[in-house]
Amino acid sequence: MTYEHPRKFFVSTRTRKNSKLKTALLGLNPAPVEELRKESRAFEKLMLERKASKHAGGK
């Protein structure tokens, strides 16, 4: 989407260089979903085990 700028303005070299920003942002990698899911499953399993052993110890 583009928006018309209301007034003329000075175009600096720095601004032209920043035109790469969009490409860089859209080229970023997404989250490593599978890796995170795997780690979450392991975390959950261990935490549940800890909770279970705590409850068993409290009986």
């Binding site: 928006y3 920043n18 035109s19 920003l21 969009k22 942002l25 970023l28 780690e39 959950e44 935490m47």
Partner: protein, 194 residues
């Protein structure tokens, strides 16, 4: 409407912050002195921002005892960039404006260090993906405290820094005063099944 119960895990559940949580959030602790702003935000500002619709804050609660495990806040953001003499391109995003684990919960429950990533992958990321199905958003970004260890955690969650010139541009143009000294990190949002 997004039903937050669908995000429940075996351990925790996610709830939208309401005034009923006022007492509970007053006990939220962030031990790292640099992260005091995160504790301060939740206790003093989060409910006001909720009322004004500026930021949405979510609490992660322990299913067993209801105590607050962590919290995070989301808001929309827009990066603007000149594409030609008279036009601007826009890059839409969602800002993970606040993200903190409750240190008092961590101490009391003997929690493993991966808790932050668990919260991110079980609640933050799926919610962001669902939101992006309803509202266009290309990137998820955060202004991280400038600490190597913390930034390492964010990298494991998929956040990346930009090349230094672009990072400086972002810091000069869109970084809130609230995040002074923090570093911009972002990741692409993809439509994924969860």
């Amino acid at each position: 409407m997004i039903n937050l119960e669908t995000y429940d895990t075996a351990l925790y559940r996610m709830v939208h912050l309401t005034s009923k949580d006022k007492d509970a959030i007053s006990k939220f602790v962030v031990k790292n002195p640099k992260g005091f702003g995160l504790q301060n935000y939740l206790i003093k500002w989060s409910l006001r921002d909720e009322e004004e619709g500026l930021v949405r804050t979510y609490l992660i609660k322990d299913k067993e005892d209801g105590s607050i495990v962590a919290y995070f806040s989301l808001r929309t953001g827009l990066m603007t960039q000149r594409s030609s003499l008279f036009h601007f391109d826009t890059i839409t995003g969602i800002e993970l404006a606040n993200f903190a684990v409750n240190d008092s919960y961590r101490d009391a429950h003997d929690v493993m260090p991966e808790l932050g990533r668990y919260v991110f992958s079980s609640f933050v990321y799926p919610l962001v993906c669902d939101i992006s199905r309803y509202v266009g958003a290309s990137i998820l970004y955060i202004f991280s405290l400038p600490e190597k260890k913390l930034m390492g955690h964010y990298e494991k969650m998929g956040f990346q820094r930009l090349p230094s010139k672009m990072e400086r541009f972002i810091h000069r143009h869109v970084k809130p005063t609230y995040d002074r000294g923090c570093i911009f990190m972002a990741q692409r949002i993809l439509q994924v099944d969860r």
